[in-house]
Symmetry: C2
Subunit: 137 residues, 2 copies
């Protein structure tokens, strides 16, 4: 943490970037998802139950596959928290996922770096999700 409190606008913008991720996922919009991410080797993504994907080449391939799935998902986010430290921000939240007959909760964290060219001013470099609870009807 900086010694001073982070600007409210920094917290708001990194939270908007976090919301953008779920909007892209719900709309199965690969281009919007791609725009959020840093397209280089330092990016990492851990989908629930998966091993960690390193680098944009692997991550983009995973999103191309996941977003091609026609199943409708709705994400209701709870316990959303953001922290800013200089030019880095990270967000934790619970993804409450409705997929028609079933629902599940995924605990997620994301790391963003400040980038004026990125949507909402923050570029996504890390996403990690893991299932907390799954109920299938």
């Amino acid at each position: 943490m900086s010694e001073s409190e982070p600007a409210a606008t920094d917290l708001e913008s990194v939270l908007a970037a976090n919301t953008g991720f779920y909007d892209a996922f719900e709309h199965r919009d690969f281009d919007a998802m791609s725009d959020l991410w840093g397209h280089h080797a330092d990016a990492s993504c851990t989908h629930p139950g998966w091993s960690t994907l390193k680098g944009w080449a692997s991550i983009s391939a995973s999103w191309a596959t996941l977003l091609a799935n026609p199943q409708h998902l709705q994400f209701i986010l709870t316990n959303v928290r953001a922290v800013i430290n200089g030019d880095t921000g990270w967000v934790t939240c619970d993804e409450n996922i409705l997929d028609g007959p079933g629902s599940s909760t995924v605990a997620a964290c994301k790391v963003f770096i400040r980038d004026p060219a990125a949507p909402h001013g923050w570029r996504l470099l890390l996403h990690h999700g893991s299932v907390v609870h799954a109920s299938l009807s």
Copy 2:
């Protein structure tokens, strides 16, 4: 990422802080684990399968319970990668866990902030682990 490459010593020290986490876990050393963490509300910890714990009060209680378990665990880390952005560093790795008869792999990420008073100069503010594969004999 900073426009300049991060100093090798920054990468080395944040990786040492990451190793310190597993040393504390293997030795079931609560004090060493506690020293790594930021003791405030912004800390978050997601143990495999758990919901995210927010704040040091909840996180410390979880470590007190976990580290009181007498079962010997050995952590073999693979795919360890660190990224530095200013005064923030994050590390991803696979925890290959040997617990006697069984073994499992946990994908993990951690976020540290620079703090000269912390072990290795980095204070842990986020840990997230999730099981990739479990085999029980």
